[in-house]
Amino acid sequence: MTRLTIPKTYKLYIGGKFPRSESGRSYEVLGADGGFLANASLASRKDARDAVVAARAAVPGWSGATAYNRGQVLYRVAEVLEGRRAQFVQEISSSEGVTAAEAGRQVDEAIDTWVWYAGWADKFAQVAGAGNPVAGPYFNLSVPEPTGVVAIVAPQGEASLLGLVRVVAPALVAGNAVVVVADEAHPLSAISLSEVLATSDLPGGVVNVLTGSPAEVAPWLASHSDVDALDLAGAGALEWVDLEIAAAETLTRVMRPEPGVPERSLDRILAFTETKTVWHTKSLI
């Protein structure tokens, strides 16, 4: 006789905790074969706003951590993810209908993506910053700093784990906090990744994961005045021009939609930074 298994309740990830949607709503997640997999939380406007509050609260700590520390934490995510590889392979193959081998490749690439971005944490400022030779007695230095709270619509409909990692990891490198709306059809790996994040020394609130309808939640994030940047990577099928217009009201920085899963790139780190230039006066001796 086989043992009766314990199915997991998939909830949201906000401020380091796993609450259900305050709306009490959930939606049915079906496998590739049409069978029932889980009831995921259907995030509401209030959940999105709670997530922004949690993200804002997490910015000082995360952006104030040393680059070496942030790099180690992101590497730690890769370590913990590696240890739970089998779970992700199973979730992805049942949800996306891909073979275990294909799911395995996706998980491996997701792990390697964390490692790649972890390595950037204490280097991107050297590549993107500058000591500027101004015509005067000044020590003039330009340094990229995190923009703040980044709201992201994760890639939709393909490679749910890798798509999520490819947008979340680069935003974290510089010290931003993130609110991400997961792949609507395949949200399970996003919540399982949240469990990885929660046990990887990443402070609560640095990453907040919402499952549900991007079309419903994204407008609240785009128009939220405490969101500093908006990554529309997976919003190509939404009315994303309206989202960009809503974001313009508070000059929120916008990355326009991108088809498929974004490549690893330094640009994605720098897109969520602000260059600060400081002029230090040299004394006349």
């Binding site: 015509a135 003039n140 960009e244 313009a248 000059l251 790139s265 600060k276 002029w279």
Partner: protein, 503 residues
């Protein structure tokens, strides 16, 4: 200290020393500069006046939507046929030529700028025009070194850049916009501000002297509608705007869903933080320079003075004493410190915000100075007892008006400095280097001056956080704003962007 007589008379009286306008050879009317030639506009015309005398300087054409269309078409042709095919070293040589021509005609440009804008000749002569030449010289050298711009090998120009600039530094803002655009291989349609078109039109003559290929730079004069037609034009690839946050917001909305790359350099409400260990004499000079330079018509002006409580009275006293020695008057006079407010409209705004400051309970003090009969003038003004919630502590006044607030601890100074939707600049005054570094780290502003203020250099990136806009101008960062990465990644982004255009 307080018994020093505050009158602004006596040994501080100077004989007038006006710079001659004989150096100018102005036309009575100016057309639009399109495809290398001055042409008549089809949108009518307006007079540009001297804000110091309200006298008409010249008649300026208004570019209609059809004129803007012609200018963009000329820029597109020049990009496709000439400028994008030219070697970087040749593009650089044109920019070097322009830099030299600006230096050669520096005095003429300075006089024209002070005449049209109202800023003191000492500023246009010693700051604006030298920086214009420096900007072209700096970016000239980049034109054949784009592989080092930080976008990988063989970065590409974007195409046609639409550039809309403000009236506070007319020629300097033109240089900030045109120099990097051309170095990167783009062509340009630029709209100067309605009240200050003169030096842009003299600059067009310089382009003719430089023999710059036709259509590489086009200048369309007019008001807001001309600018709106330009940034909304579908054949524009890049929009660069300097001006108010409210217009910046409209531009960000207008380009939403298009392929256009945007940089916005908008308003500010900078904190100038003076700690009790600051060198007070230098700090007072820095405060004056921070808010009264260019009549306070500076987006990065240090309009909020945050002074440590223990030295508040001393700093304010010395500041009043110093302001009493400033000479307000004829912008063309070499002795003038404070020139004219650029327009009646701006003067009205400064007046109404200052009145509001009084109504909300702040204490107003204005330097005693004679206000000329004609023209637009506003005496240097300080508000003390300003609370953080006061309108004059929150809204950009864009005039010679300083709001003084106090703080007790560095943490309080930082909190107050960051308590604004803007984030363009900030100042820190202290003799303690370690304190400056720590405070600078925590200020949310794009440009921070430590023991100085309002310094600009073509090698130094400039631009804001938050609602002060996005993107940087100046330095390698400013060059990148006019380039796309070569190869696959930009091709990828083009695919998506097309989708947006079709919406």
């Amino acid at each position: 200290m307080k018994d020093i007589e505050i009158t602004g008379r006596g040994f501080l009286d100077y004989a007038p020393a006006p710079e001659s306008t004989a150096i100018l050879h102005l036309q009575d009317s100016y057309g639009l500069f399109i495809d290398g030639e001055f042409v008549d506009g089809s949108g009518g015309s307006f007079a540009t006046v001297s804000p110091a005398t309200e006298k008409r300087i010249a008649e300026i054409a208004i570019a209609s939507e059809a004129d803007v269309d012609l200018a963009v078409a000329a820029a597109r042709r020049a990009h496709t046929r000439t400028w994008s095919k030219m070697s970087g070293s040749d593009r650089g040589k044109y920019l070097f030529r322009i830099a030299r021509l600006v230096q050669e005609r520096a005095r003429e440009l300075a006089v024209a700028e002070s005449l049209d804008n109202g800023k003191p000749i000492k500023e246009s002569r010693d700051t604006d025009v030298p920086l214009v030449a420096a900007w072209f010289f700096y970016y000239a050298g980049w034109a054949d070194k784009l592989d080092y711009a930080g976008l990988g090998a063989n970065p590409r120009s974007l195409g046609v850049a639409a550039q809309v600039i403000p009236w506070n530094f007319p020629l300097l803002m033109l240089a900030w916009k045109i120099a990097p655009a051309l170095a990167a291989g783009n062509t340009v349609v630029l709209k100067p501000a309605e009240t200050t078109p003169l030096t842009a039109l003299l600059f067009a003559e310089i382009l003719q002297q430089a023999d710059l290929p036709a259509g590489v730079v086009n200048i369309v004069t007019g008001a807001g509608e001309t600018g709106a037609a330009l940034v909304r034009h579908p054949d524009v690839d890049k929009v660069a705007f300097t001006g108010s946050t409210s217009v910046g917001r409209e531009i960000a909305k207008a380009v939403a869903g298009t392929h256009k790359k945007v940089t916005l350099e908008l308003g500010g409400k900078a904190a100038n933080i003076v700690f009790d260990d600051a060198p007070i004499d230098q700090a007072v000079e820095g405060i004056v320079n921070g808010i009264f330079f260019n009549q306070g018509h500076v987006c990065c002006a240090g309009s909020r003075l945050l002074v440590q409580e223990s030295i508040h009275d001393e700093v304010v006293d010395r500041l009043k004493q110093r302001l009493t020695t400033l000479r307000l008057g004829d912008p063309l006079d070499k002795n003038t410190d404070i020139g004219a407010i650029n327009s009646k409209e701006q003067l009205d705004r400064i007046r109404s915000l200052s009145d509001l400051g009084e109504q909300e309970g702040a204490e107003r003090w204005s330097a005693p100075c004679e206000i000329p009969e004609n023209g637009f003038w506003f005496a240097p003004t300080i508000f003390t007892g300003v609370s953080t919630s006061s309108t004059i502590a929150r809204e950009e006044i864009f005039g010679p008006v300083l709001s003084v607030l106090t703080f007790r601890t560095p943490a309080e100074a930082i909190a107050k400095a960051n308590n604004t939707p803007y984030g363009l600049s900030a100042g820190i005054w202290s003799d303690k280097g370690s304190k400056i570094l720590a405070v600078a780290d925590r200020l949310r502003a794009g440009v921070i001056w430590a023991n100085t203020f309002n310094r600009f250099d073509p090698a130094s990136p400039f631009g804001g956080y938050k609602e002060s806009g996005y993107g940087r101008e100046g330095g390698r960062h400013g060059l990148g704003a006019y380039l796309a990465a070569g190869g696959s990644s930009s091709e990828r982004s083009e695919r998506v962007e097309t989708k947006g255009d079709n919406k």
